[in-house]
Amino acid sequence: MIKKIIYCITAFVFVFQLAGCSVNKQSAQVLQSIKLDKEKIMYVEKFHADGRGIDQLIAAELTKRGYKAISVGQVDASLENVGIIVTYFDKWIWDLSMYMLELDVQFRSPKDRFSLVKGNSYHTSLTRKSPEEMVSEVIGNMLKKIENQ
């Protein structure tokens, strides 16, 4: 009886893993025409539920690509030389270990916080990427779209 139960659980887990491991999505879209000014600062606003410092990874990635980027708690009127507000959310899930399932990034107008460019990557367990790779993939796709607009 126990053997049968283990058999069924193994089969279910196997299928559950298959069903969950096959999704790979990455996308970027320019919603409104945008020109990034390298002299102005891109402020990365920290996502309230992020305890892993993804804001700093995003700022570092933008800096690596030649932009001035700073991570902040919340963008307000006290900040100067604001070029773009960068917001994001990251979603993590457990599968033997915790990994980043999804990263969604938006570049926003500092005037009205309207979303100008969006980028999203979604990789399930078998094709999981490190947070640095996820950030690089999303930011890379967004900047490529801006260049080609």
């Binding site: 069903a19 919603l31 969604d104 009205d112 979303s115």
Partner: protein
């Protein structure tokens, strides 16, 4: 013979599991996003609605462009925010871009966060009259909806409905 029996048994379990995991999650229907917008004033002109950025695949438990568009049109018609809606010649165009949809993978209490960008353009001179990225959220627990998948569906639908209500309320304040 026993091996064949075991193989069939395994196949049945696999099929059942596949059905439970990924084969029955249709996208959110317009009726699940029914919005009751409270409008301040009514605009006389006609409007055409265009939605982009939504899910294009079936069976994803997400929001498609078509279903969100239908919900917006239904809400506009119900609230009489604009004189009429249609895809033909119109006075205004309402562009809606589904920016993000943050749904929970699991949990007892489920919160869905959604953001859509709304743009109103006057067609005669192609002038953008208003734009805003609008966020909405909805949280439901087991007491609201017992089944997990049903809970995600209802939470997502209601988050989308709140987004439409917020947007239409703001558009109703505009001087078009």
């Amino acid at each position: 013979m026993k091996k064949v029996y075991n193989l069939i048994k395994f196949g049945v379990v696999v099929l059942f599991s596949l059905m439970a995991v990924g084969c029955s999650f249709s996208n959110i229907e317009p009726s699940e996003m029914a919005a009751n917008a409270q409008v301040v004033k009514h605009h006389q002109g006609s409007v055409q609605v265009k939605v982009t950025g939504g899910e294009t695949k079936e069976d994803q438990l997400k929001i498609t462009n078509e279903s969100f568009k239908q919900s917006i049109v239904n809400a506009i018609n119900k609230s009489k925010l604009f004189g009429s809606t249609g895809d033909g010649k119109s006075d205004y165009r309402l562009d809606v871009i589904l920016n993000s949809l943050d749904q929970p993978a699991m949990g007892f209490t489920m919160t869905v966060n959604m953001e859509a960008s709304w743009i109103v353009t006057r067609i005669s001179d192609n002038k953008m009259m208003w734009r805003k990225s609008i966020s909405s959220t909805q949280t439901l627990g087991v007491s609201d909806e017992t089944g997990g998948v049903a809970r995600v569906r209802r939470t997502t639908g209601e988050a989308a409905a709140r987004n439409i209500e917020k947007a239409l309320a703001e558009i109703s304040k505009l001087d078009l």
